[in-house]
Symmetry: D3
Subunit: 241 residues, 6 copies
Amino acid sequence: MNITRPSGRAPDQMRQVRIERGFTRHAEGSVLVCFGDTRVLCTASVDNKVPAFLRGKGEGWVTAEYGMLPRATHSRSDREAARGKQGGRTLEIQRLIGRALRACVDRSALGERTITLDCDVLQADGGTRTAAITGAYVALVDAVRWLRKRGEITRDPVFGAVAAVSVGIWRGVPVLDLDYAEDAGCDTDMNVVMNDGGGFIELQGTAEGHAFRRDELDALLGLAEGGIATLLQHQRDALAR
Amino acid sequence: MNITRPSGRAPDQMRQVRIERGFTRHAEGSVLVCFGDTRVLCTASVDNKVPAFLRGKGEGWVTAEYGMLPRATHSRSDREAARGKQGGRTLEIQRLIGRALRACVDRSALGERTITLDCDVLQADGGTRTAAITGAYVALVDAVRWLRKRGEITRDPVFGAVAAVSVGIWRGVPVLDLDYAEDAGCDTDMNVVMNDGGGFIELQGTAEGHAFRRDELDALLGLAEGGIATLLQHQRDALAR
Amino acid sequence: MNITRPSGRAPDQMRQVRIERGFTRHAEGSVLVCFGDTRVLCTASVDNKVPAFLRGKGEGWVTAEYGMLPRATHSRSDREAARGKQGGRTLEIQRLIGRALRACVDRSALGERTITLDCDVLQADGGTRTAAITGAYVALVDAVRWLRKRGEITRDPVFGAVAAVSVGIWRGVPVLDLDYAEDAGCDTDMNVVMNDGGGFIELQGTAEGHAFRRDELDALLGLAEGGIATLLQHQRDALAR
Amino acid sequence: MNITRPSGRAPDQMRQVRIERGFTRHAEGSVLVCFGDTRVLCTASVDNKVPAFLRGKGEGWVTAEYGMLPRATHSRSDREAARGKQGGRTLEIQRLIGRALRACVDRSALGERTITLDCDVLQADGGTRTAAITGAYVALVDAVRWLRKRGEITRDPVFGAVAAVSVGIWRGVPVLDLDYAEDAGCDTDMNVVMNDGGGFIELQGTAEGHAFRRDELDALLGLAEGGIATLLQHQRDALAR
Amino acid sequence: MNITRPSGRAPDQMRQVRIERGFTRHAEGSVLVCFGDTRVLCTASVDNKVPAFLRGKGEGWVTAEYGMLPRATHSRSDREAARGKQGGRTLEIQRLIGRALRACVDRSALGERTITLDCDVLQADGGTRTAAITGAYVALVDAVRWLRKRGEITRDPVFGAVAAVSVGIWRGVPVLDLDYAEDAGCDTDMNVVMNDGGGFIELQGTAEGHAFRRDELDALLGLAEGGIATLLQHQRDALAR
Amino acid sequence: MNITRPSGRAPDQMRQVRIERGFTRHAEGSVLVCFGDTRVLCTASVDNKVPAFLRGKGEGWVTAEYGMLPRATHSRSDREAARGKQGGRTLEIQRLIGRALRACVDRSALGERTITLDCDVLQADGGTRTAAITGAYVALVDAVRWLRKRGEITRDPVFGAVAAVSVGIWRGVPVLDLDYAEDAGCDTDMNVVMNDGGGFIELQGTAEGHAFRRDELDALLGLAEGGIATLLQHQRDALAR
């Protein structure tokens, strides 16, 4: 089929991806990840404590927090700190990021430590949560390397890799990696988190307009698999630099 | 394959479903829905106002709130009103319920009205969000019937029907409608919301243990389709009484 | 004098009372109490901890929380969890329930345990706090029986019984057990908590319209004594089943 | 019977009462009321607005807020503004003060105005809520006089007078106007609000130790009537100065 | 130059200062300080604990909280406890008071104790923060004397004295100790905290209208030095009584 | 005198300053300002509304919000949005930034518009508030240029320029532009906001260790004047690019 996406990209074409390590200097891992105009700063912070429910069990914890600078978006949104609470969307996204990253961590190998992944959106243009997961993975690996270099852990707690991408149905055509304009115009929007073994970690699909059929779902999953492969390669390249 | 689920049910067997209309008397729709030992009270309340972002557009709104009585669960959990905020899980679930129900409502036909679906869990045994969606649909229809009987709306704003069920992989076997014991032991847990045209409204799958493969996903979706068909029949029967 | 109460009841006539034990299955005590159309679910939860101010003193604690489902009432009220705090009325009622129940408990015999009585109003038609106290007493006894059956305590910490009823002056006539319509039209409204020895535990009378005189107070207390006797019998019957 | 109260007072003896008008200069009414060592600053503030539920009805509103300076008490208590919410006790007391004062106000004569009575405890030694009601009445009258002097209202919206006192049973003996030491040692504690016609506005009795009998209640009410008479005279004297 | 300040005072003339010790009886130090019509109650409370970040270091802590009664001002302001948070101005002032007082305390000599200075404004007419610092110093000394009398500390942790005053430029003329009317009309407003050695503890100057020049700053500091000398003498006199 | 500052800089030497306009693309003004390793993103957002207290007066408003990413600092600090409120330090800084910027704006020329300056610290190494003021000025000018280009305003509301720098006394020597290590070791710390006419907008000096004398203050102000001159030149250069 012949469509022109708002972005002019082919249906199966990702935006330009950039992963920049060491973006800030205090964090044990600090990554700026860009999916086109979406830019998310992901930092990994190591703390030698675990939440109360894990104390004394010899296991570590990986968790995430998500935020958006007030003017990361087209029009300014209220600062959550000023409003006095995190909104439902924020909580939902940071729970997702945390689950996704825990899926590639052996928490016994981490020991009684918490790694917190702060994902702060500097500029938003759709797909902030998928960019956050993809970048947070690299920050996590850097934090783990820092721990290993200091001899604090011996076994690598990270197994495999995790990346995420969005797919959707834009004017009837399944497309990969939605930017803001495409996301707003999509009937169906799905976020897919996968590992480097081709397994699904998380799948969240929502029919915004009409319900989607099984064959549409299959097409979306196919696109996502291609996008994830590209992202995993970007992660490997960044970590090899 | 030959497994015994904790519940003793066959892999594709739903728990006993009960949908009781008119459970309380003040609400325009009031439904007690039971999936086995999970019992959720779903009320639909009509308000002749819409949120600020819709004012003057001639459209209505459908939204949901979710709550759990402190001792609906095995051990008592803090009352969210006393803690001073709704947790991330609560916000995530009530956003899901709202999206699911809006998927079967023509908001222009509703006019400038809000229907709020309050889903309060009296007793929890797994699957509270899927029971809530399934019951809230019936409460919504009752509220719409109430509006029509009073002549406040002429066109039926509800098209089709919506129901939800959970599926998961328990010891390697895809199973339908997880209760609490099964949910806790599952590797993968997926909530599926569908309409009566066989379309997907929402799909939320999470790999708690190992990542799930494409063929496992297919099996889970097949089970969900069967469960949804059963639930839609229960809804029709309840609404016909 | 000859009046017709909105409910058609005689001035000294209680609504139909129903006390149903074991209403939900997780709590150590779970009671649905109905005063006419007022329905309150009272659960008793045992926790092997006490608040900080009691730690190490060998005494237990009994406390209560009160909530109202958003659509328990004629028009929907905001969910306190969503508003981010419990209102003054809620706090006042749950403090009253807690004090009332502690009046029949020997806290040394309870040991360092807390019993929390959650009173959640499923449907409101006046007198929710008096129904809550009356039902919570039964839930409390069930929780104590559970503790004794497990051999965790040897001496019965509950002495006597506690019940509560409202009285008021409706169009000049003292009446017993106000429903919502009567409560709204009453000049004076009084909640009376008594034990089975005929002693007063708590007395809260408010003149909504004109101030009440000493002889009116006496008449109200007489009615309350009769109502309490009926309620205590309902409690005994329920606990004997 | 022969007892020595901690204060050395006779059972029916009030503490020294002092009512000082014009204590601060900005408020329309400003009264320092002292019941012995209990000192409460009561200010009345006039605002030409009413709460939303009264707008356009031609009626006024009278409401109260209560606070305690952190070190008004023996040991410092947390500042409620710093904790981020008013406690249950505070809300309960300020609701009581508001109800009590509204009982002597003709809200139509007040017009669409709100009078807010702020009762702030500078020093606490028992009976802060009864002192607050007694002093707030005087501040209210001063605010109404201020309105009348400016010709903003013509008819006096205050009818009669309202005062409050506590009574209790100390070592078996009914006593009047409990100070902190007596309050802490009392079996029963009752707050009584009356008007100058001898009518009851509010009655709040709590059995802290053993339940109280009808004859004890009668004795307490007799003591309260005497105390209220004294307080009403103090109010009249203050207002005549 | 020849101006008439709203207050009629000479440019270098302070308002009448009054420092009254023992204003309330529970606190270890309790001081009412008046700068003209500004009246602040400063209490010092001793607690045998320190905040978490100091535990086990053998050092004490001095901190402050600031509040304003709702009707301390010309028009009533919302109660911070009711609004659910302390405003930015309140936090800023209480941080300033705490820093100012810590500047004259040897925290090792204090031992692991916290002294909390509660500064509550009963009546406001400009300069509440400077009055608070000046009065809190006296309350602090009283609390330390109380500790020494009980033999809990041997070495005096307070060295020197601290006082504060405001200065400003009113219609082009530098003036001392601004009252509310002057403060509202000032181009520049500066709060100066000094010790009795003539050293500056804190300097906070703000140009409300036009920016101030170096020579204006010098004139303001000169005025402040004079005012501080007066205040230090008032403190000494009060502490000698 | 001969000292070696931790940074190795001369006492009157600023860190390397960088001002990068157009750092993000949605905001009307978007500036990344760096003082050495301190990096603050300052965005200016235009809104065609003013706060309630200014409505209908024909004047605009300029306000600021300040935030710090959780891992902008050496160790991770809690996210204010998650804690549910902005701390005292945050409120104090954002109030300062707002006042400083309003000092160079003619609010009538702005018309009924609000410009919000969001200053978010990406990386902190001392002096975040002075960098924020310096960068926010440039973002403000860009937002005003945007308004003028669209013809929404005709007269330039910004007069002059505003910049800020910190000074302090490090081991007895007055030094300019403290980084984190120097700030932590300083006896006195002063933030100075000035305009391009050499006038002071704001002066905030705090003696952390010993009190500072008048001659030390003079030396600090001299250093600040030099630093401000440098910063004003950087602003001009950036705006000319």
